[in-house]
């Protein structure tokens, strides 16, 4: 079993439920291939750096999991078939240092979100202050 990370971008034209169903679909595929899902990082809707399939935005999701190396081809095949997924990237974490980073990233997912949320709140608060002034 190796550690892998898969990032994929779902089309922004779908509704929220459809996006969620796409994510669960990928998770189901992972489960079917005997992968052990460790963490999920929802990066949310982001602007793409360049247009992909005529879309300028995309919904980013990152899955961290452990799986057999031979199963990756099947997982990627499914991602490739799916027309609602415009980009994906799988990264393998094999060396000790990479593994350490993998654990760190998995651990920081919950934290990072909270921090960014508080930051956004602060930014929003500052904006309102600026507007009042």
């Amino acid at each position: 079993m190796n550690c892998y990370e898969t990032l994929f971008v779902v089309k922004p034209t779908l509704t929220e439920q459809e996006i969620a169903s796409q994510v669960t679909k990928i998770k189901d595929i992972l489960a079917r291939e005997g992968a052990e899902l460790i963490a999920t990082d929802d990066m949310g809707m982001r602007r793409l750096a360049y247009a992909v399939e005529k879309q300028t935005r995309g919904y980013y999701t990152v899955l961290y999991y452990k799986a057999e190396g031979s199963k990756i081809a099947e997982i990627e095949r499914n991602l490739r078939i799916n027309e609602d997924i415009i980009k994906f990237l799988t990264v393998k974490y094999s060396t000790k240092k990479e593994m350490a980073q993998f654990d760190k990233m998995v651990a920081s997912i919950g934290k990072g979100k909270k921090e960014s949320a508080t930051k956004e709140k602060e930014a929003a608060a500052q904006e309102t202050v600026a507007q009042e002034a």
Partner: protein, 88 residues
């Protein structure tokens, strides 16, 4: 000559903070090694050591593949659709 002045003391930022792996999803962190036009900056300008420059390069290329940072910023991109990393 002007560009070199931007980085006065040349030391590897990543060695200083003992980084072992550079995450491609951390766009803000990668920006240090990118030019205004999102080209990878050479080592002689950023002061990165060889080992970390290689890690940075891989991370930047992955970020480009996933549309987190642009491959090129030409005039069309600058005028029509300026890319900002803070923009969600």
């Amino acid at each position: 000559m002007m560009r070199e002045r931007k980085f006065k003391k040349r030391f590897c930022k990543y060695c200083e903070s003992k980084v072992d792996y550079i995450d491609y999803k951390d766009v803000a962190g990668l920006k240090f090694s990118l030019s205004e036009r999102y080209k990878i900056m050479p080592r002689r300008l950023t002061g990165n050591c060889k080992r970390h420059q290689e890690l940075v390069t891989v991370a930047i290329k992955r970020a480009r593949q996933t549309a987190l940072i642009p491959y090129i910023v030409d005039r069309k991109n600058v005028v029509d659709a300026p890319f900002e990393t803070s923009n969600r």
